[in-house]
Subunit: 339 residues, 2 copies
DNA sequence: TTGTAAGCGTTATCAA
DNA sequence: TTGATAACGCTTACAA
């Protein structure tokens, strides 16, 4: 079997290439008879569209790029998978670009995506503010930013979970569970969303008249080194910490492992809550309270707005905030049932 | 900024398009002087290669497709991410096709990938034996099967973890930990790898003179319904089950949640071991023993052989088995320290 | 309703 | 060392 081209189909069905093209794309007029004839030949030959040629001609590739830091991360793979599913149903191909948080790799990927004439781009999270790096004009690719602030908001549509409120809810929950000295744990505060979560934490303390000071209310940890982290307990004890809001489940779950290594102090002495709502929450011991992000909604919105942007059906410069939910599990349970 | 083409670059640097192409691809001869001139213009204009045109002309797309059931699954996302990383370094783009285990979606994806003139394909796991569906001839796309048997072994290279030995090791470990009545738990045995794991379990029982019978040695569970599974305990009690080899960590971890819901019977009454070596093993309580798959090795081998296949540097019909490791954690610990 | 032909941006052949 | 040009497979005026 050779690779048939539209020209072969034209010859085999005794019509011109133009007609074949019209039939394939159901565009323009042709008789039912020719249509059947052509379709039959296409069926028989197993003809396959050549997208390179089509893209070249139409300057449109039916391809969407996704820039994502790390598909190993549950939240990212969840959202990517959902976006991909929706796009597939819309007949778009997806090129997933896993940057590994490497700025050079990101640049390089964007270069490649541009060269492939992608119709649109979805940027998920990441450290710096995002910019497509091209002079702002009609040639630039429509893109959507999820959980990552664009350098220029008028360039794009910004979609984000309500990180601030989520963090606020988490912190308030700790306080409601009688935590007097809650702190916020994180690995780094580089990303937009982490920064917002920390802000939410801070605001909640203030609203509850609890002193927030950078030195003692924030705890920077390195998950990699957590298992041989000697300084953790002294730090916690010094400030009488009885509640920890970790900015994501990854940090929270590792923290829990460490805290409970010798004695089970979560939730008895320290209550712990994470952020993301990942599956690991169910498996930790005790199970981990968390803030659940609505990835389904984020995925749907992202695709919807991107497609609208591509078809110029909506305007740039919008911001969409997606609500989050507090999921209460055992890691923040009160000590009613102490023996 | 318009999108510059090679023609623009040619004009701006006062040479022909042919020369520009030669410089860009460093192929053919040209003077150092022209090279510098052209490179300078490229730099200044921010010229970007048009891959559609290049692919169309060269019948080569510098793109590799990956067919994968579900990137939510840790093992898959791990391996996909590693493959993608290696391919990126080799200047290949990757199109990740998440089939959701949907046969029609898979077909549709393969159609699309063919239309994009992909240079090669990596197929990861999946239910049925894989076939590219094209008459076997020179036009077919080189592909690698990971953990999924090809319909025709002479068509491809088959790379797989040593599922059989892994399962054998897991089962032997249960027996070494004094389990007298081990069983094997799984959701379904559709995939090649699961079937092999069950085989390994079976053989190990036989080698240890433990009776294997389909009815009582195998336990089919539905993770979805596990939390309200009433029949689980009667089944286990009936056969005096004291050890469970679950064919993957996903099943194992959910099983553990269920088994320990009321009393902690793992590992005291029942020892439990999984397969995959996913991160969740560290978080379950008790931590989950498992068989670790060497995804790094699998990824490296896959890319290496695929590239060789593309460049006709190796031959079809090979099979590569990648060794696995037994990781012992608390879920299979013996009851020395009973109080 | 159908056909002809130009052109999308490359690479590669052939000639200079 | 360079340049002119055909060809890759497709869509789309424009013509018939």
């Amino acid at each position: 079997m050779k690779n048939y081209s539209i020209k072969d189909i034209a010859e085999l069905s005794g019509v011109s290439v133009a007609t074949v093209s019209r039939v394939i794309n159901d565009n323009g007029r042709f008789s039912e008879q020719t249509k059947q004839k052509v379709l039959k030949v296409i069926e028989e030959t197993g003809y396959n569209i050549n997208y390179s040629a089509k893209s070249l001609r139409m300057k449109k590739s039916f391809t969407i790029g996704i820039i994502v830091p790390d598909i190993q991360n549950y939240f990212f793979s969840d959202i990517v998978q959902k976006i991909e599913k929706i796009l597939f149903e819309l007949n778009y191909s997806t090129i997933i670009c896993n940057t590994g948080r490497d700025h050079k790799k990101e640049k390089s990927y964007i270069q490649m995506l541009k060269g492939r004439d992608i119709d649109g781009l979805i940027v998920i999270s990441g450290v710096e503010k995002f910019s497509l790096d091209s002079i702002h004009n009609e040639k630039s690719i429509p893109y959507i930013c999820i959980d990552r602030e664009p350098l220029d908001k008028s360039d794009t549509i910004f979609i984000s979970s309500d990180h601030f409120s989520g963090a606020y809810m988490a912190t308030q929950h700790l306080i409601d569970q009688h935590c007097l000295h809650p702190i916020c744990a994180f690995e780094n505060a580089n990303s937009t969303s982490t920064a917002q979560r920390i802000e939410g934490f801070k605001r909640c303390l203030e609203d509850n008249s609890i002193l927030f000071d950078k030195e003692n209310s924030l705890l920077q940890v390195s998950v990699q080194n957590l298992h041989n982290e000697e300084q953790l307990f002294p730090k916690l004890n010094k400030n009488n910490v009885d509640g920890i809001f970790a900015v994501n489940d990854y940090t929270a779950s590792h923290l829990m492992l460490n805290l409970n290594k010798k004695d089970s102090i979560v939730p008895k002495k320290i209550k712990l809550i994470g952020f993301d709502g990942s599956p690991v929450c169910e498996f930790t011991n005790p199970s981990l309270s968390s803030i659940h992000q609505d990835t389904e909604k984020i995925a749907i919105l992202s695709v919807e707005y991107l497609i609208n942007l591509i078809n110029k059906k909506t305007s740039y410069g919008q911001t969409k905030i997606v609500p989050v939910d507090l999921i209460i599990r055992k890691s923040t349970e009160m000590n009613n049932n102490l023996c």
